[in-house]
Amino acid sequence: MAHIVVDPVTRIEGHLRVEAEVEGGTVKEAWSSSTMFRGIELILRGRDPRDAWAFTQRICGVCTTVHAIASIRAVEKAIGAMPPPNARLLRNLIMAAQAVQDHVIHFYHLHALDWVDIVSALNADPAKTSTLAQSISDWPLSSTSYFSGVRDRIKTFVERGQLGIFANAYWGHPAYRLPPEANLMAAAHYLEALDFQRRFIKIHALLGGKNPHLQSFLVGGMATPLDPDSQSALNMDTIAALDKLVAEGLDFVSRVYIPDVLAIASYYKDWASIGTGIGNYMAYGDYPEDDSENPRLFLPTGIIRGRDLAKTETIDQAKITEQIAHSWYDYSVGDDKGLNPYKGETTPHYTGPKPPYERLDVSQKYSWLKSPRYDGEPMEVGPLARMLVAYSTGRPARVKVLVDKVLKSLGVGPEALFSTLGRIAARAVETQVLVESMGRWVQDLAENMARRDYRIQDNSKWDPSSWPHDCLGAGFHEAPRGALGHWVHISNGSIVNYQCVVPSTWNAGPRDASGHPGPYEAALVGTPVAKPEQPLEILRTVHSFDPCMACGVHVVDATKRELARVRVM
């Protein structure tokens, strides 16, 4: 039995540690620990709820829009603000741009190196690479001379002896299975995707002033004025720029990302039965298509239990709880209990080993993450959960078409979706579905402007004197990494309590009071490990969730005074 510690888990956002027991070449048990804590929700206490989006946005700079969106929705719900249609469209575009860009970065820059051996690309024949590339896509950057140039560029890089971010990796590991030509093609697309993400995200600069950390959100709407007759507003020049960027996005996703996922997956089909995990999936749903109280959502809401795609359950917020049996917090009601976010508490109380340490005692508390549960059960959230709910409900129809196409191309059945590879495929399908929808939302925005509807904000609820004296609100969003909820309690115009239950808490949380592992921990069980000193396969399964640890760790409950006693050296 080998005990493996991976810390830091790199190519993620934030600070994640994985410990695992490996026996007979596979993971028998695993523990996921988050090792960083800031306390942003406590910092929100007593502040103006209209500022909260900017604070929560800083929970994460990778998924830079998601906590801003959840926050304005929570506050709007609490105070009764109704954003106008243009604000909904601007937000849908911002959210979709985030998801598309984030998913592309995840695949190429955070995940690909688990499957692609860059050093092997040096041995590739550029002519054969060209043949391979042209056989999977009509993307124009596919000539022999192009791949020859990329190979030479990598060669120069390797030969000069300063490997930088590529140093000391697992190159040559037996689990790498791509032929040199596929490795070279993927390496070329790693570089192209670096260019792509920078260009595509200009959508955020157009609609939000800058990226990361856009600055155009408002409680009640958006700050981006619309006026086709002004040079200082979103006008027809902006519409044209958006159209162009969306078209480029669609082009890259359809002709590079999707074909690459299919090509790489075809060499790793065994990973369609590895990394299955807990088998419960939850999606809040998102992308409202109308402006009613309960709008139709482009990506639907629902819960799937026990991998049963035949039915989806409706979500009941009241069944959401967070547990802390293995988390570095205390509960006044006892550490073995779960609390709904409206009644949540967070009293950080570190009981782990004093740094520097070698091992965590995983029989005790071992993470800064809590363990969220729905109806007492762990839930996996994220692109796979969303695509499964969409697949199961048949909405939007495009999801089923694309998922079936992927399954057919790989020659596997729907059960293959519940896996490490399934997460990768679902993320790619979702990217395609969202980038295809963006053009429609740009069009809707232009049509509103044609009707001279330039409204961007519900100004009737801007002044705090228009708010109820005491109010509660919850805001939900499907972030790239999954179901995100913010809960806010406002009294006398100020925040009394603020809570976030976020995707990476659902997925990366530790065991609960009953000893049930979280989704990462469950998914790692059974993962093969060829060389315990180079646990490449562990990274594959963990990365398939797209960890975002800064999001996952939050301190809640502002009512616990103990926090103020934290010792400052």
């Binding site: 810390d7 830091p8 790199t10 190519r11 956002e13 600070h15 090792t35 960083m36 804590f37 306390g39 942003i40 406590l42 910092i43 007593g46 502040r47 103006d48 500022d51 900017a54 604070f55 800083r58 994460c60 700079g61 990778v62 030479d152 560029r153 120069t156 002896g161 300063q162 930088g164 971010i165 140093a167 697992y170 920078r198 600069a205 157009l206 002033g209 800058k210 990226n211 990361p212 950390h213 700050a223 981006t224 004025p225 002004s230 200082s232 570095w328 740094p355 520097p356 070698e358 330039y454 961007i456 904000q457 100004n459 100020s494 000193e533 646990p535 301190v555 926090l563 934290v566 400052v568």
Partner: protein, 366 residues
């Protein structure tokens, strides 16, 4: 370890001499140098050996890392990243776990006193360092070990520069800036803003390679080339401010026509950064250009001193002779225009904001 000059690399990477010179000229503009400095930058960059950089992430959101990924001047920006040999960067590096730690140890050992450390995120001092550990070691220990032996340390973003959001009241984890966490750190440069603008980070490195020294800094250790002027002084909406033309409500005609956002809470008059000049995402836009007020994100303690974000700055100081402020607007705040002038660097006076936050006296809220 073989170290090549850039010229050789340019050829290998298919970057034309012309493209490269254009890049150097644009860098000169960012640095506020005359056009003639372009060729000097080119010469300096081409002949310089690549310095080793290690990028540390502590109580961060990776926003500065993401910002770096948006660095403009595409092909050449990639090249510059290669050129500086980024030996450690958790979000981007291929290696993980002990192999990652080893990469850091090796880079720092082989280049002791010569490497440049970049820090993203604040450093918690509470709970014996357990609020942020990497490989079982506390952020505080890592910061002292790595920054303590660096030729220079660049605090990227407001969290590393000034403590940022984790240090906002009530600072639950005892979060510190690099300056406070690593006493006596050499050549510390604060590239504040939330996040730091990629063009400024790149410009700082080019500055160092070209001029072989670090730039002059303001009182907060921020380079003058990026933080030497108030947003307000370069704002494209300044004429509307001077003419008393203000946005009064979101989406009103003044808002649609780009009038001044001062009454909506803009902190541009109290914030020093080059956003109006460099803008963001390769010059695409910036927050005020998008109709939202500046929130003062480059300033120390802005989460406490600049909030509520939509509250009006009560004392907007330092107007040019002849400029004036809408007396009705200021009258509503119940305050008067202060006489304190704050042009230039090192004199940014921070004021309490109209409306005040609930704990502006620094006491524990409740």
């Amino acid at each position: 370890m073989r170290v090549h000059g850039l010229r050789e690399e340019l050829e290998h990477q298919g970057i034309s001499r012309r493209e490269f010179l254009a890049f150097c000229a644009s860098m000169a503009a960012v640095l506020g140098l005359p056009d003639s400095a372009g060729p000097a930058i080119a010469a300096a960059v081409e002949n310089e050996a690549r310095p080793i950089l290690v990028w540390l992430e502590f109580q961060d959101c990776a926003g500065n890392t993401e910002s770096l990924l948006r660095a403009g001047h595409p092909t050449v920006a990639d090249l510059i990243l290669d050129t500086i040999s980024l030996s450690y960067h958790e979000t981007l590096m291929a290696a993980a776990g002990s192999q990652a730690e080893q990469a850091l140890t090796q880079a720092v050992h082989d280049n002791a006193g010569k490497y440049i450390a970049l820090v993203e995120g604040s450093i918690p001092s509470g709970a014996d360092g357990a609020y942020c550990t990497i490989g079982g070691k506390s952020a505080l220990q890592i910061a002292r070990d790595i920054c303590g032996n660096a030729a220079a340390t660049i605090a990227v973003g407001t969290c590393a520069a000034f403590g940022g959001i984790p240090a906002a009241r009530p600072n639950p984890t005892g979060a510190l800036s690099v300056a406070d966490a690593v006493p006596g750190v050499k050549n510390l440069i604060n590239m504040s803003a939330c996040p730091a603008n990629a063009e400024n980070i790149t410009a700082l490195i080019i500055y160092y390679l070209t001029l072989k020294r670090w730039p002059p800094l303001d009182q907060y250790r921020r380079p003058l080339f990026a933080y030497g002027k108030a947003i307000h002084d370069n704002c494209e909406r300044r004429a509307h401010f001077d003419a008393g033309q203000y946005v009064e409500a979101w989406g009103d005609e003044a808002h649609r026509h780009g009038h001044c956002l001062y009454k909506m809470g803009c902190k541009g008059p109290a914030t020093s950064q080059n956003c109006p000049v460099v803008r963001w995402n390769e010059g695409t836009n910036w927050p005020i250009g998008c109709g939202h007020p500046c929130i003062g994100c480059a300033e120390p303690n802005f989460w406490d001193t600049m909030t509520p974000f939509y509250g009006r700055l009560p004392n907007v100081a330092g107007f040019d002779v002849g400029s004036w402020v809408d007396p009705v607007g200021l009258g509503l705040t119940g305050l008067v225009v202060a006489a304190a002038a704050v042009h230039g660097v090192g004199e940014i006076v921070r004021h309490r904001i109209a409306g005040g936050s609930s704990n502006e006296d620094g006491s524990e809220a409740e």
